[in-house]
Every structure is written in structure tokens, then in C-alpha cells.
């Protein structure tokens, strides 16, 4: 029955912190099997939106459904289908990579034998086997992203929600992550990720939404959104960036 539902459906999600409105009513439908990019400048509310969508932050108003299950009313079913890579959140980083994967797997109620096998495979593919028993706290930023992704993938979720998966990742690891995600989508999974790197989004995504000042400004398939221009032009126009006139910061040039 889940096939007729969008992989992720947000309805009127809103959140304010004190007097500052972080997200002002976001509606979004992520079709199953899509590779969905959530674009936005810093402070647009991407992380807040995704946190509310996966049950990490309680919205002031609105709904979030994962394949038809309400994240806030039926969290057990919804969270079972979800894999999440939050940004700016610590992992349980005083475990080694393998220990962390085992923890996540068992926490999801998986069979220990399956956890062992998948963990070994994931560590191998993500080139983390070399780290041995190094604690995750001593990993580099890129390695942390990779182990976080491995934790999100381990239980074979139907929907992956990734917050800035390519931030601080070197090109080799980024290519690896892209490859894994494309195979995941090819196999029927759905990916939603946030980013402000246009190239990555243009290369990977089937669908794009541009978020600015807490609301969705543009939404649709990649081609619908960018039309005959580059995604970057559309983005800058929508967000309302300023172009340098050459007069300011003149003391920077000798």
C-alpha cells in the first residue's frame, strides 16, 4: 500500500525559535524513487525542516509523513523506514567504526549475524576498514560523514534523509558517496538531501526544491526548476544575492 504514498510528504511544517521564524510553512512531496535535492543558502531552514521531517525536532505546526506513516503520530513505523544522516550532530563518537555500526544495527532490531556481515561490507566499501579500532572521535571530517552514512544505510531504509552529506568531504570520498547513493536510488530507494553546492545537485538530482527564508521558493523536477538557464543563476535570482560592484572592500587589493 505504501507505493501510492510519496516517500516523504510535508504539510505546512512551521517552526519558530523565540521570535525568529525558522521555517514558515513548508509543503513538499518527495515521490518514491526520486533523488531529491533541497537547496538553500545558509540559514534558510534546511536543517530545521529536515529535523522536523525525521522526528528530531517537534514542529510548531504541520505534518510529516514517511511513506504514509505520520512521523509524529506513528513514530515507530515511520522511523523504521527512515535512514538519517544529521548535520552538526555528534555521533556516539567514542566507539570505533565497527562498534558504532553494530550499535546502530542492534538498535534497529536487526539480527546480529546480518549486522556483522553488512557492517564489514560497508566498512570495506567506504574504505574505513583501515581505521581499525580508531575511535570515531579521532576520524577526519570526511571519515565521520562516511561512517554516519554507513549508519544510516545499515538497516536498509526505504528513505534516506541526508543533511549536507557532501560537506567537508574530499573529492574521492564524495565520488564514492555519490556512487553509493545512485545505486541506492537505482534499487528503488529514495534520497532527500540538503546542499548548497549546485554542481552536486545538478549532477545527481531528479527533483529540486529551493528553500529560502523558511519557505519553498521553487519546486519541481530539475528541468522544470532550471528551465534553460543554469541552476546557479536560478538559485541566485530566487535567493536574491547581491553582485559585487567593485567599490566595497577596496582595501583588500594592494
Amino acid at each position: 500500500m505504501t507505493e501510492e504514498h510519496p516517500a516523504l510528504a510535508l504539510r505546512g511544517l512551521a517552526k519558530r525559535f523565540g521570535t525568529k521564524v525558522a521555517v514558515a510553512g513548508v509543503d513538499l512531496d518527495v515521490p518514491a524513487g526520486s533523488f531529491y535535492g533541497l537547496l538553500g543558502p545558509n540559514g534558510a531552514g534546511k536543517t530545521t525542516t529536515l529535523s522536523m521531517a525525521v522526528g528530531l525536532l517537534r514542529p510548531d505546526a504541520g505534518q510529516a509523513r514517511v511513506l504514509g506513516y505520520d512521523v509524529w503520530a506513528d513514530p515507530v513505523r515511520a522511523k523504521g523506514l527512515l535512514g538519517v544522516l544529521p548535520d552538526g550532530v555528534r555521533l556516539f563518537d567514542r566507539l570505533s567504526g565497527a562498534e558504532l555500526l553494530a550499535y546502530h544495527g542492534l538498535l534497529r532490531g536487526m539480527d546480529p549475524a546480518v549486522v556483522d556481515q553488512r557492517a564489514a561490507e560497508l566498512l570495506d566499501v567506504l574504505a574505513l576498514t583501515d581505521a581499525g579500532r580508531t575511535l570515531v572521535v579521532d576520524y577526519s571530517a570526511g571519515m565521520k560523514k562516511k561512517i554516519g552514512l554507513a549508519c544510516a544505510l545499515l538497516h536498509g531504509p526505504r528513505l534516506l534523509v541526508l543533511d549536507e552529506p557532501f560537506e567537508a568531504v574530499d573529492p574521492v570520498s564524495a565520488a564514492l558517496i555519490r556512487d553509493i547513493l545512485q545505486r541506492y536510488v537505482g534499487g528503488g530507494g529514495t534520497v532527500v538531501f540538503s546542499s548548497h553546492v549546485m554542481e552536486v545537485v545538478e549532477r545527481l538530482c531528479s527533483h529540486v526544491a529551493i528553500l529560502a527564508e523558511g519557505t519553498i521558493k521553487r519546486v519541481g523536477t530539475l528541468d522544470q526548476v532550471r528551465g534553460d538557464r543554469s541552476l546557479e543563476d536560478v538559485f541566485v535570482e530566487v535567493v536574491g544575492g547581491r553582485t559585487a560592484t567593485g567599490q566595497e572592500l577596496s582595501w583588500l587589493s594592494r
Partner: protein
């Protein structure tokens, strides 16, 4: 177009008041829009002032009562204890206010001298400093009443110097310890050192009490005179010296204080530098030892190696690993172990030893202790042990998000956390009971002690279950295990006090039973205490788990450090 690059900015010296203003601003911003924080802060200030007033009158008593022979005693010993407290309490209990984290200044072109003076000045802006100031003002009254204006004036100078000394000592020591703890290799050694320092508190107090009881006033005054010439007593006794006619002593003592402050600041600036660099380059120490067994077997420490490989097992295993690997948690464990052994020894043995002339060896002490007194002190130890969990989610910080995303049921979560902590603490409690029973020469009381311990610990777990879910707060993300946020300090002490009282009340039936049932209780205490503690903990996790289920995102937000 090419405009000359302006002269390098920042060559001017940064005045100290910038640091002070920065500190005040950070403190103020912490309160913004958080009514409860302001309330807690006010409560903290009031409680502090209440104690300070007590200290004030204690120190002013010799002057107010016109008893000059006690003046030197109170000044030397009272002030000395104050310095000792400033030295040790941040290490053992309260942590040091790291509102201005030195690591944040690493990139700024500041000389070490500027930085140290700035941070030092900022450290002076705090509630503990204010309350200490109020308390030691009593010395001025004493000096003034006994020696007139000139003595009072010297006392004022002395107490300001003494206060500076206290703050410098606290900063230097915690900073040095933090630097030591930062490197993994030295961490074990440092933990032991810390334990020893904390352990010294107990015997020292016994010795002091024994001395008070034994020694005649002449000898005590002699000791006070000696203490007065050490940095512990020098700043506080300068005013008294003037009042007693030894005017020449005052400048010497102030000089001693000034030199000590200088040495401490030098020490601080040394460790400060490594603290700043260390935060940036705590380079990865790769441990390439090959993994043994599958991922799941690696997660489970040997102690819980036979636990079931399911959610509960995983939670317990992860918590067990964390109590050992997280410096902050380990420091807490060590505190429990040390205080748990020494407090009951002091309460139960101290009194009797003093009564019998203080000369007897520990083992043959004939005691005036009773099952009731023992139960009471065990109650304290049990509650204290459980208090460590009062902010158990704060230890995890934003890492707790993993459990929220996985949708871990609250009851399971709490039960697993209690179990893992108990794996460490229950053996410690066992040792406490055995050691104390042996020292008291009453092996038959072992059951009573263990029963009271377990009952108090269990009730404490139940209470802290609620406290940690409802009152969790963020700990700063620094590698300094002693650091904590402003405001959080007050919140922490307040919550701690509250849960302590609640847990103690919940476990009082054990003491009442010890008083009423007499010898029968010697046999019943252990099974009853075990059942009581276990029941309380289970009930607590059942009820608090329900609350946690409804509050998971809110709790996560509360324990996530603001950046």
C-alpha cells in the same frame, strides 16, 4: 583602484575590560528569552549569599565578640579552608566556569600575557567570587574592631589579594589537569592523581578535627601562626597582624600572596597555551590493531559479553564503553568511588577515633557507631552514587539524536542506562560496605549496610531518571572534563540538591527499619534493601520512561550545546 593596505591592525594592546565585557555579554545572552534560567540564577545567588552571610558572621565573630585570642585562629583556618576549597572543589565537584573557552582565542593575535590577564579578570566576574567576597568581609570587621582603621584597611587589601589567589589557584589547577587529561596516554595517570587529591580531603579532615579536639589553644594558635605564613593563610591574617601590633608582618604576608599569585598565573599561562593548541591538534592516534571478531562482538565489552545481542544489550554495551572512554564520565565514577569510601569512614570512624584520644589504629577502634548511623551514612553514599545520572543525557549531547532517530522506547533506554551504570557502581558499593564493616569491627552489619546502600541507590536511580528526563541540560563541548556553562552551574546544584532530598526521603524507610527492628533487621536488611532498590529503580524507569517517550525531541534540544 589599488589602495594601500592599511597598517596591520591589532598592534594596540587589548585592554582587560574587553574580556570582562565579553564575559558579561556571554552571560547575558545565555539568559536571553530563558526565564527559568534567570530564575535559577537568582536562586543560586540567593543561596550563595545565604551561605556567605553565615561565613561573614563566623569570620567576624572574634571582632564582634571582642575575643582577640580567637581572631588569628579564625582568620588562618577559615581563610585556609577557603583557599583549599577553591583549589579542590572545582576538581572534585563543581567544575570550572568556562564561559570564555581559551581555545576560542587561539587564532587571535594576543600575547599570552594579555590573554591570561584578560581571562583572569573575566574569571573574577562570577557568583562564587561575589559570595566569597561577602564572607571574607567578616575579617575586615574583626580586624577593624580589634585594631582600628589601619588594621581594617590592611584587611581589605589582604582579602582582595586572597580572593585573587583563590581564583588564580582554581584556574591554574583545573587548567593543568585538563591539559593532562587531554592526552589519552596520560589520562589514566591523571585520573589516579585526581582520585588521590580528592582522597586526601577525607583523612585531612579527620586529622584537623582530631587536632581541634586534642590540642589546647596554645598549640592551635601556634599552628595558626604557621598557616598564616603560608599562602593559604597569609592574605587573610595580614589585617589581624596589624591589629595585634605586628605591623611589619603585613607587607611581608602581602608579598607572599602576590608572589604566589604570580607563580600560579605563570603556571596557568603555561598550561593555557597547550590547552589552546591541544584543542586544534589533538591529532588522530590511529589504532590499527586488527578487529577481533565481528562488529557486534567488538561492541560488547567482556563484562557484558554474554548479554543478549538485541536493543537492550546494545544500549547497555554502548553505555558501558562510554563510562570508561568518556573522560567526563570517568571523572564522575572516580568521584563516586573516592567519596563513597571516605565519607562513611569519616562519619562512622571519625567520631569514635576522636573520642578515644585519636591515638588508636583504625582496626581496633572501639566505636560508638550504630546500625542507624551506619544506615544513614550508607543512605548518603547510595544517593550520591545515583546522582551521577542526574544529567545522564547531557553526557551524550547531540549524540542522543541517534537514539531518537532509531525510536528507542523510553523505558528501555532508562533501564539500559541504569543497568550499565550499576555494572560499575554496585561493585564499588559492595567494596564500600565491606571496607566499612571491617573498619568498624562489625562484620555482622554488612547486611544492613549493603541493604541501605542498595535501597538508597535504587531510589536514587528512580529519582534521577525523572530529573535527567525533565531537567537535562547541555554540557559544553570541550575536552576539559571540568568545564561547565555559566547558569548551568546553578541549575546543576539546584537539580542535584532537589534529587538528593527526594532520593533520601524515598529511602528513609530503611533507616527507620534499622532503628525499630533491632537485631532482626541485621538479617532482613539485605534482601529487603535489594528488593526495595530494584523495585524503586524499575518503577522509576517505568514512569520516567513514559515521560521520556513524550519528550524525546525536547530533551534532545535541551542537551544539544548551543553554538
Amino acid at each position: 583602484m589599488a589602495v594601500a593596505v592599511s597598517a596591520p591592525v591589532g598592534s594596540a594592546r587589548v585592554p582587560v575590560r574587553h574580556f570582562v565585557r565579553l564575559k558579561l555579554r556571554v552571560m547575558g545572552n545565555n539568559f536571553r528569552g530563558q526565564g527559568w534560567r534567570i530564575a535559577l540564577f537568582v536562586v543560586g545567588v540567593l543561596v550563595g549569599l545565604w551561605f556567605a552571610t553565615g561565613g561573614f558572621f563566623a569570620l567576624a565573630a572574634p571582632g564582634l565578640a571582642g575575643e582577640p585570642r580567637y581572631a588569628l585562629l579564625t582568620a588562618a583556618f577559615g581563610g585556609g579552608l577557603l583557599v583549599l576549597g577553591w583549589l579542590l572543589l572545582p576538581l572534585v565537584f563543581f567544575g570550572v566556569d568556562e564561559t570564555l573557552d581559551p581555545a576560542r582565542f587561539a587564532l587571535l593575535p594576543l600575547t599570552r600575557r594579555t590573554l591570561v590577564t584578560g581571562l583572569y579578570a573575566a574569571a573574577l566576574i562570577s557568583v562564587p567570587v561575589l559570595t566569597t567576597l561577602v564572607a571574607v568581609a567578616g575579617l575586615v570587621v574583626t580586624a577593624g574592631a580589634l585594631g582600628g582603621w589601619s588594621a581594617a584597611l590592611v584587611a581589605v587589601v589582604g582579602l582582595v589579594a586572597g580572593l585573587l589567589l583563590c581564583v588564580a589557584a582554581a584556574r591554574a589547577l583545573t587548567s593543568a589537569f585538563a591539559t593532562m587529561l587531554r592526552s589519552r596516554r596520560v589520562r589514566d595517570l591523571a585520573a589516579v592523581l585526581l582520585a588521590v587529591v580528592a582522597a586526601l580531603l577525607g583523612p585531612l579532615q579527620i586529622v584537623v578535627l582530631a587536632a581541634v579536639r586534642q590540642a589546647d589553644w596554645e598549640r592551635l594558635t601556634g599552628v595558626a601562626r604557621v598557616v598564616g605564613w603560608t599562602p593559604f593563610g597569609a592574605p587573610w591574617t595580614a589585617g589581624i597582624d596589624v591589629a595585634e601590633g605586628r605591623v611589619w608582618a603585613a607587607p611581608v604576608k602581602l608579598l607572599i600572596t602576590a608572589l604566589t599569585i604570580g607563580a600560579l598565573l605563570l603556571w596557568w599561562s603555561r598550561s593555557l597555551e597547550s590547552a589552546m593548541v591541544g584543542a586544534a591538534s589533538a591529532g588522530p592516534v590511529r589504532d590499527r590493531r586488527g578487529p577481533t571478531g565481528g562488529a557486534v562482538d567488538q561492541l560488547f565489552p567482556r563484562a557484558v559479553g554474554r548479554a543478549r545481542r538485541d536493543r537492550f544489550g546494545a544500549l547497555v554495551a554502548r553505555e558501558c564503553r562510554y563510562w570508561w572512554r568518556d573522560a567526563r564520565r570517568r571523572a564522575n565514577l572516580i568521584t563516586v568511588a573516592v567519596v563513597g569510601v571516605f565519607v562513611p569512614v569519616m562519619v562512622n570512624l571519625g567520631g569514635s577515633r576522636l573520642a578515644t584520644d585519636g591515638g588508636q589504629a583504625f582496626g581496633e577502634a572501639s566505636t560508638d557507631s550504630s546500625p542507624v548511623l551506619v544506615s544513614l551514612s550508607m543512605l548518603f553514599v547510595g544517593v550520591l552514587a545515583s546522582l551521577t545520572l542526574a544529567n545522564q543525557f547531557g553526557f551524550d549531547g547531540s549524540g542522543y539524536a541517534a537514539n531518537v532517530v532509531a525510536g528507542v522506547p523510553g523505558r528501555l533506554e532508562l533501564r539500559a542506562r541504569m543497568t550499565a551504570f550499576s555494572l560499575y557502581v554496585v561493585p564499588i558499593l559492595g567494596v564500600v560496605a565491606v571496607v566499612l564493616a571491617t573498619l568498624l569491627g562489625h562484620p555482622g552489619w554488612l547486611g544492613v549496610m549493603a541493604g541501605a546502600l542498595l535501597a538508597a541507590y535504587g531510589s536514587g536511580l528512580a529519582v534521577t531518571g525523572f530529573v535527567s528526563v525533565l531537567g537535562g541540560y547541555a554540557l559544553p563541548e570541550t575536552s576539559n572534563p571540568f568545564a561547565m556553562n555559566t547558569g548551568a552551574g546553578v541549575a546543576k546544584s539546584f537539580l542535584t540538591l532537589l534529587s538528593m532530598i527526594a532520593s533520601a526521603v524515598a529511602a528513609t524507610p530503611m533507616v527507620v527499619a534499622a532503628a525499630l527492628l533491632g537485631d532482626l533487621w541485621l538479617w532482613l536488611a539485605l534482601p529487603v534493601g535489594l528488593a526495595y532498590g530494584l523495585g524503586a529503580a524499575l518503577l522509576g524507569s517505568y514512569l520516567a520512561g513514559d515521560v521520556l517517550d513524550r519528550r524525546q525531541p525536547e530533551l534532545l534540544a535541551a542537551v544539544t550545546p548551543r553554538r
